[in-house]
Each structure stands twice: as C-alpha cells, then as structure tokens.
Amino acid sequence: MSEKVLISTFGFESDKIITAIRELPFERLVLVMGKDALKKPGFIEVKDLCDMANTTLNKVYVDVFNFMDCFKKITSRIEKEQNNDNIVSVNASGGTKVLGDAAILGSFHCGVQAYHCEDDLVELPVFLGVRFEDRFTEDQQNLLKLLSRPRSYEEIRDSTLGIRNISKSMNELKRRGLVDEMAGPVTRYGLSREGKLVKRYI
C-alpha cells in the first residue's frame, strides 16, 4: 500500500521542519541531514514528535557541504520511494544552503512536489511526474551514452545503438550545451562539461 512520504532537509533547528510537519500531510518522515545533527536538541525534538504521533522517522546521511553528494542521495531516495509507489513530497528549507539547493534540484529532476518553508510555505512550480530523462528522446539518451568518449559521425552511425536520426538529435544536444564539436582532420563530437554531468543522471 502506498504511503505519503515527506523528505525533508534538516540542519540543527526544529522550527522549519515543524512548520512543514504542520502544513504538509505525510505518514512517514525522511530527514536528510549530516551525521552530527543526530546529537542536537532540534533532532531530538523532531524524533520525540514523531514518536508521539506514531510516525516512522527515517534518516539519510549526507555531506552537507558537498552539493553532488546531497543531490545524488536525495534523488536516489526519491526514486526508491517512487519505485515503491509511495507519494513523495520534499521540503527544502532545512540544513545548509547546499543541502536545500540540492533538494530543490532533486525535486525538479524527479518531478515531485516541493516546498520551501521559511515563515510561509511556498509550493515550487515542479511539473509532477515529469522526470529529468523525460526531457530527452531515446535517440538523444543513446547519443549521450555513446559520446562518453569523443566519436566521429561515422563511428556514431556504425554503432550498435541504432540511433535513427543522428543529425537531429546531435543538433538538439548541441543547442542544450551538452555536446561539443571538436575540430580536427576528422570532426569529432564529445560531451561538454554539463553533458558529462547530465549523462550521469540518465
């Protein structure tokens, strides 16, 4: 049976999470936080609140100053919950700036409801159910995978991935700043810095 899961970033203070807990419906709370937050009074207060409300509390530990670590762990947790048919929402207002920003990006990547909660609760304009990879056609996804190392047009054409419309997909990926053209005796195509990052999430 599906559960309503609230994934919330958390620092040392309980104020923001308590506002979110009050405003957002959930059956299970997942706190994304640094390990050192465990000993803080704020965490103990939230834990006590969950115990009293008979609500399960899960924890995901991250390096709160490392954006990519936060982002990867948040997106994989969201995906895990989605794969179990749970209804996920994200509160991105607790913890460090890095952690909060990673949670916002993770929500847009996975297409789940997201909130920012300072004094007021603001619902962010995420398209529900629209995932990051949905923004690429199958050909574009294959091309991104293939260009892990730079290749010529002929190499792409002869690959076993069977990319149907190479030029169209290539132009679109170039327009998005994901593929660079490398001049030389034979023109090669490779992933840009952003392209390499994007490929990791497809």
Binding site: D101, I104, L105, V122, P125, L197
Partner: protein, 211 residues
C-alpha cells in the same frame, strides 16, 4: 555582452572565483541583501570588478521573501537573454532563501548554474539543462498559464475557452494536462456545480514568459 549572475551575502569569495573561472565576463549582475555586512562584501566585489573592467549591476533584495526574489531574478534573465548571453548563475552566496530562489530560477529558465564550495572555494558546475523548463508545456498550455496570470490567477473554465478561442474539449484536454502536472487546480462554483474555476498555483507565475 556576456553576463554572469551571482548571489552575495557576507562573503565576497562566494562570487569572486567565478569572475575568473568563467571566460570573458563583461557584466556581473549581483543580488545582495540589505544587511550592512552585505554592503561591505558588495564593495569588495565592486573593487575586483573595477580592476577586471567588468561592468557591475547591483540588485539589493529583501532577503527573506522567496517569491519576490525569484520573480526579480526571472525578470532580469528574461530581459538580458533577449540581447545578451547569460553565461551562468553563481548561486552559493547570500541567504539560504536567496540561493534557493536562484537555484529554482536557473532550472526554470535553463540557465547554467555553478556552486562555489563553502570550504575550498572551488567552482562546482551543477547538472542543469540549458533549456527552459517550460519546454515541457505545449504552446497552448503556456498560453493558458499566461491568461491566468494576467487575470489574477483564477478564471472560469468558460472564460479560458473564450480567451484561447478553442473548442470546449480541446480546452478541457489542456486544462487536465496542466492539472496533472500540478500547476493548476480545478474547483466547482459552490452555488452552481456546472461552473468550474481554474486556479493557477502562486509559484506557477514563474513559468509564464512574456514575449
């Protein structure tokens, strides 16, 4: 002109590295808070900009109003992207709220974003697509959102149909799609159940582009 956007709090080091790691910055648009320490940090960034001959545009922000900050950032991006190239948004300075707004606007507008690491001050690129998030909408869905935005965010379904000049079933199809995506909600008139109201989520105003 190549433009760099950046948020700034008390620490100029969250902005200054991006002036050198990003090639050929002609103008820096700096979003900073009202606190006096932000002014001091802004002066330091200004000094570096003068030395590097980078034009500086200052945007003093009410630091704790998320929608206000996001709306102003989005307006700047729309304005600048018409004539200039926006290189990237450096989002690590300023309050958490300011940084979060910059993150969200970068996703929505398809602007490349970078992060300056809090301890090492290394510039970290973020996995964002350089295409507007509204590419996920059809032209008709974008038109409906614009119409709702121009009319105070709530309209009767019949008014939207008239506004876009489409058949009832076509309008309903697009409205249902927007509802499925979570950017609008539908409700019935409490006195007449045949009358339906469409309300746009407050933050969905950030998805409306003004061509």
């Amino acid at each position: 002109m190549r433009i760099l956007l950046a948020t700034l709090g008390f620490t100029p080091k969250f902005v200054i590295p991006t002036l050198t790691t990003e090639k050929g910055v002609d103008r820096l648009v700096l979003y900073y808070g009202e606190h006096k320490n932000c002014d001091a940090a802004k002066d330091e960034v200004a000094k570096v900009c003068r030395k590097m001959k980078v034009d500086l545009k200052l945007r003093k922000m009410r630091e704790f109003d998320f929608m206000y900050i996001a709306t102003r950032m989005k307006a700047d991006i729309e304005k600048y992207s018409q004539k200039h190239e926006i290189i990237c948004f450096s989002i690590s300075g300023g309050t958490k709220l300011m940084s979060a707004a910059a993150m969200m606007v970068s996703v929505i507008e398809g602007v490349r974003a970078v992060y300056v690491h809090e301890k090492t001050f290394d510039v970290v690129p973020l996995p964002l697509l350089q295409i507007p998030y509204t590419d996920n909408l059809t032209d008709m869905q974008r038109q409906i959102l614009r119409l709702l935005h121009e009319n105070g965010s709530t309209m009767k379904l019949s008014e939207i149909r008239e506004g876009i000049g489409k058949h009832k079933s076509t309008t309903t199809h697009h409205i249902k799609e927007l509802e499925r995506k979570g950017v609008i909600s539908l409700s019935n008139d409490e006195h007449d159940s045949r009358v339906k109201y469409v309300t746009m989520k407050e933050s969905a105003a950030l998805l409306v582009r003004f061509e």
